[in-house]
Symmetry: C2
Subunit: 382 residues, 2 copies
């Protein structure tokens, strides 16, 4: 029996220092072209400007009749003015010699190719001017924008069919084989896959790894993905060899972070310089290690905002929130009376249930023992 | 030349009445089982309770040594107590006869199968009690929950591999053929697809339809999808036959809504009772007709919250917002100084650009002419 010294983990790094490592070590991936039809959620890699005016001609803004406005001067119900019949549909270019559009209900066409106007029109009435949406060369969508329907519509309107976007990060998940069937490690694969998909990553491989040094090493040596997440085997126990395997086959930059839950997190690179995050096997620790380190890494790779993908709001505490000094602690909270929050059962007490049976969480920094009743805290909302 | 009376659209229905039609007519789809691994974003169809305690036995909460706590009474650095060596890893069931776990760094194993304790432990120390996450029968995740990583982790921990979810709505998009090549109708397909995907729908078919009654009718008669979106041909013009085709082949419940942009929206059902939304062909009108009517329909079908999928916040207006009385108007706004918003160029002025070149929008109801400077308004944020 080999029992490793627990000393490996007794000198935990601060969460801020570990996040700083991620920020410095993980860079945005390269660019690929993708079809605009299907680009929802992708991150635009370059500024896109209009290569022609939109619209490229003066157009009818609604269905009606194109007229030369000055021919309508003086028109009224008592003095209808007859002009040539030139029907246009919304979006049609104005015919030559016309500069306004009269709506269908303000004109009566006759059988002889004319239309009677009962109201005067001004030049430009119901016309979408050339370049009204964008002049030629105008900025359409900025690099870094996560494309939503409105951006995609505008880019399609500009004539684009493909757009340059940041590549989606390809991920290998290496899941330590559970020590016994049905053990909690089993739940981590689907959970981490869901978080990766939320963050725009693609799980290229999910492999279950035997708990031996050689098997872990094989799982680490990986060139065809952008990041490796090892789940489990991060602790000080005899069957925990993820950190040692990484140290021997690359760089174990950080092992042990002052985060609760998530203390046995590791960060580094394999021998091919692919970033590696070691996530604890205990489910709640795995979740928070992902959220604080792997998630920002994933979002950085994909060109997204690395910040936590939860809305946050300042709220008052209805009861005090207690946290251990020296550890950054994720404290689940529930909504209280009015605009307040109160502590919900902790991750130490109820494990992963604490993330489901709560309305959000407060991150209490390591220098704090928590917050008194009535304090204002930043609540991250689920 | 057939010129239809514009009267069809002059009696527009209020936006509220049109939304009420959607609320009453569109129902949540049925249930299907899906693999938990990949269920991110799906809507849970039934309450899920624990069918056994989680964990199902008392377990070690960390790597260490299992002990019977009362054997450690009086242990200290000056008076180490020797107990049998029973190493456990985090997540292991406690061996029979043990009721606490001592961390690795508080005990020294020797070569003779014993471990020396230098601190007394209490029963339950570092033990995750049977049922600590959930008692047998306890509620895990409520029906209607849109599954995120934390829910998926908890359900996996409970032993589930599949979950019952609401079916994703299957959508047919029938896009009127543009009146001229490169016309703005072309941009609507990718835009609407993006919005459908955001709302959890699946575009089963996108067909381009000739602008004749027969072609539109063929596009409407559809049994294998859950909703049909017809884009274009909704106006009063001679080439606009979407509404008439629906009226003849099903039910045109609503045509013409007091919404700007989006006035020529239509709502109804085809002859197979499949809901149909007629979206205007002008891009900005298409977008807002989708957002206010097709989007809520899509989200209702899929069991999601039908409300607009944008955060909203009360903010003060830095300049007055002007809107036409009698029309619900979507007014783009930009952030001003401090916590204020000011009007951005309108959809009438700059088309779809107004949705990209702004920070959000205010929905001014039809009874209002807008808001004076300094008024508090609900801003929907992109």
């Amino acid at each position: 029996l080999i029992v490793k010294a627990a000393a490996t983990l007794s000198s935990s790094l601060s969460v801020d220092a570990a996040i700083a490592w991620v920020d410095a070590a993980i860079h945005c991936l390269g660019v690929e072209d993708t079809a605009l039809d299907g680009a929802q959620g992708r991150v635009l890699a370059e500024d896109i400007r209009a290569n022609r005016a939109i619209p490229d001609k003066d157009c009818a803004a609604l269905d009606g009749f194109a007229i030369e406005a000055n021919t309508s001067l003086g028109a009224s119900a008592y003095n209808p003015v007859e002009v040539p019949l030139r029907p246009v549909d919304a979006g049609d270019a104005l015919p030559a010699g016309s500069d306004a559009v009269v709506p269908l209900d303000l004109a009566q066409p006759d059988e002889r190719g004319h239309v009677e106007l009962v109201e005067a029109a001004a030049p430009g009435d119901n016309v979408e001017q050339q370049g009204a949406v964008a002049a030629s060369g105008a900025m359409l969508v900025l690099a870094g924008t996560q494309l939503a329907a409105r951006h995609i519509g505008l880019l399609a309107l500009a004539g684009l069919r493909e757009v340059p976007v940041i590549r989606r990060p390809l991920v290998r998940i290496a899941l330590m084989r559970p020590l016994r069937p049905g053990a909690w490690e089993d739940s981590n694969g689907p959970m981490v896959r869901a978080a990766i998909e939320r963050d725009g990553g693609v799980v290229k491989e999910l492999v279950t790894v035997e708990r031996g040094r050689r098997a872990i090493t094989n799982a680490l040596i990986e060139m065809s993905v952008d990041i490796v997440l090892v789940i489990g085997g991060t602790g000080p126990g005899s069957d925990d060899q993820s950190a040692d395997a990484l140290a021997e086959n690359g760089e174990l930059a950080i092992h042990g972070v002052a985060l609760r839950p998530g203390e046995t997190t590791g960060l580094g690179r394999n021998s091919n310089s692919v970033p590696v995050v070691l996530l604890p096997g205990a489910p709640a620790a795995c979740l928070w290690s992902y959220e604080l380190f792997a998630g920002p890494a994933m979002r950085r790779l994909g060109g997204r905002d690395p910040a936590l993908p939860y809305r946050s709001r300042e709220m008052a505490t209805a009861r005090k929130i207690v946290s251990a000094i020296g550890m950054t602690e994720i404290c689940p909270v529930r909504f209280g009376v009015g605009d307040t929050v109160e502590p919900a059962p902790s991750f130490a007490e109820t494990g992963l249930m604490a993330a489901v049976n709560s309305d959000g969480f407060v991150i209490v920094p390591e220098g704090s023992e928590g917050y008194p009743q009535g304090a204002w805290v930043t609540v991250h909302l689920y």
